[in-house]
Amino acid sequence: MNLRIIGALISKDFSLFFRNRFFALVTVLGIVAYIIIYFVMPSSVDESLKIGLYAPVIPPVFEQLQEEGLEIEVVESDEALRQAVTEGQYVAGVVLPDDIMEKLMLGQKPQITLYFASDTPEEIKDAVGVMVRELVYLQIGQPLAIEVSEEILGPDMIGMQIPPRDRLRPLFAVFIIMVETLGLATLISEEVERRTIRALLVTPTTVRELFAAKGAIGVGLAFGQAVLFMAIVGGISSQPLIILTALLLGAVLATGIAFLISSLAKDMMSVMAWSIPALIILIIPSLGVLAPGTLTGWVEFIPSYYLVDTVHQVANFGAGWGDVWYNLLVLLGFNLVIVWIGITVLRRRFR
């Protein structure tokens, strides 16, 4: 392979990429926007469960309630409590009647009202209900006849929850990398459709050199932008070598997908038509980081899962090579297959 030829082709593609106003804008504004969003998002997590209480007479057990992660605030009126719950200041509101103590003494059943916002998850409703019942049992001198012990399996994440902005890092990194499939696929499909590829192939340029140049520009643009973003948002401070390796493999994946898309697409519009579904699929694993527990096992069939998971584990939990080697190996395997298929099908369009 002739490095002079590859260098000339890379320089040409780089120039064409930034002469396309759409891609220039998406590239520059994209990174700026992601960085702004990152720094605007909260940098800490409020792990406490706030419950509002309105009670003309507060039973002693409610006054003594101080558990880790639970805050009870007394509100001055029933109406104020309803308002606060509706506005999301409390996950739940508890209204105790003014004759609660008398009724409990007489063995009657006082009416306790619980307020929840309309979007409160069912498990929170259940937990608050159970907690209130337990408190009442305690108040009337009937403690539960069991001892409960807690054991955390794995690292105890209390006080170590990942801030929303850091949950966004893998999403943005993957997004930056995968958006480059659009740019590279457009460059290649335009080259084929405008037949400039034929002009290149009657010079000493070989098909191999063409692929080397396209691959280098695709990997370079995707990797460069992702590294820039991760460096600015502090995603490389922990285990930089692993993060760089993962981003590099991600950039290769994006390049392989771009080869595949450009073998199918004929112009920028059809590149968009193919790229957007691909982009959506590739971003799905990031949603699992944003909302843990929402994805099931099938997500592991999406190649970007291994990139997202590695970036998430390393940047957010300080995982090491021993924790993510499997992810990187699977990602490498996906890359080899996708790049090989991409080159094989795209090669046919060069003729």
Partner: protein
């Protein structure tokens, strides 16, 4: 005596069931301009693609500058220049950017794009984006790109198609300059007048086969007919066309009779065109 720059031996290519080029053989001497003429779909472009290494022949072989093309694609492509029928420039780049890219690919150093652009009449517009050029300017840039490496063999596929007379003439002049420099030129066209004007020899291609190959003069001698065309006034005052075939034993008497008995209004001689000959040989026109 010059050797052959291009040799095609039983060159064949097919796309599925369609035989695009059917066992054609010819040679082009160094410094010669060969006009390769035929209607659309005759197999001209496929032939050029095999000669330039873009397509590998299904049968037969092409030899350029003593090297078999299929086995020496890289070496052959260093010595050739190709100007395609369809404009395939990097339109977001300037003319200079386009030429510099190709000079880099050929490893040409030092390279002066300004001199080349001046030669093709694009001086003053060197830094403009190509997308702002007219069709004629783009075509001149295509020709300039094809001679960046001072090729020994230059392939020109319909270089003047659809151009205004000035641009077409400018390109014809460059072709003749390249010929004078010593380049061998393979000119694909269906413009018979252009081929007649520029080519040392012409090959007629029809349905993938070469049906005639000779100098324009010889082809006209062999297949054409010279004639005298006259408009004469009849006794009733109407105009009539008369044609007298030249080069026959009856010609002198026929001419004598024309001028003796009729009132000749206009008279001119007519030579067969390459198009007439092509139609006579193949039974079809060039634009079909």
């Amino acid at each position: 005596m010059a050797g052959d720059a291009i040799i095609a031996e039983e060159l064949t290519y097919w796309y599925g069931e369609l035989v695009a080029v059917d066992h054609i053989s010819f040679n082009v001497a160094e410094g010669e301009i060969l006009g390769f003429l035929g209607p659309n779909g005759a197999g001209k472009t496929t032939t050029v693609e095999m000669l330039t290494g873009l397509l590998r022949p299904k049968a037969g072989k092409a030899v350029l500058l003593g090297m078999e093309v299929a086995k020496n694609v890289g070496k052959v492509q260093r010595e050739i220049g190709v100007c395609f029928e369809d404009t395939n420039l990097y339109e977001q780049m300037s003319a200079i950017g386009n030429l510099r890219l190709f000079a880099h690919l050929f490893g040409i150093r030092p390279f002066d794009p300004y001199a080349l652009l001046k030669r093709v009449g694009l001086a003053g517009r060197e830094k403009d984006r190509v997308e702002n050029y007219s069709k004629g300017m783009k075509q001149r840039l295509m020709v300039a790109r094809s001679i960046v490496n001072r090729p020994q063999v230059l392939f020109l596929d319909e270089p003047t198609a659809g151009l205004d007379p000035t641009s077409a003439e400018s390109i014809r002049n460059i072709i003749l300059e390249e010929r004078d420099r010593g380049a061998t030129i393979f000119l694909t066209t269906h413009d018979m007048l252009e081929a007649d004007k520029l080519s040392n020899r012409v090959a007629f291609v029809n349905q993938g086969k070469i049906v005639a190959l000779d100098t324009p003069h010889n082809l006209k001698q062999l297949y054409g007919k010279r004639a005298l065309r006259a408009k004469v006034s009849t006794h009733s005052g109407e105009l009539e066309d008369r044609e007298i075939i030249l080069d026959t034993p009856e010609t002198p008497n026929a001419i004598h009779e024309l001028f003796a008995q009729k009132r000749v209004v206009t008279v001119h001689s007519e030579e067969a065109s390459l198009e007439d000959i092509f139609i006579r040989i193949t039974g079809r026109g060039l634009t079909g």
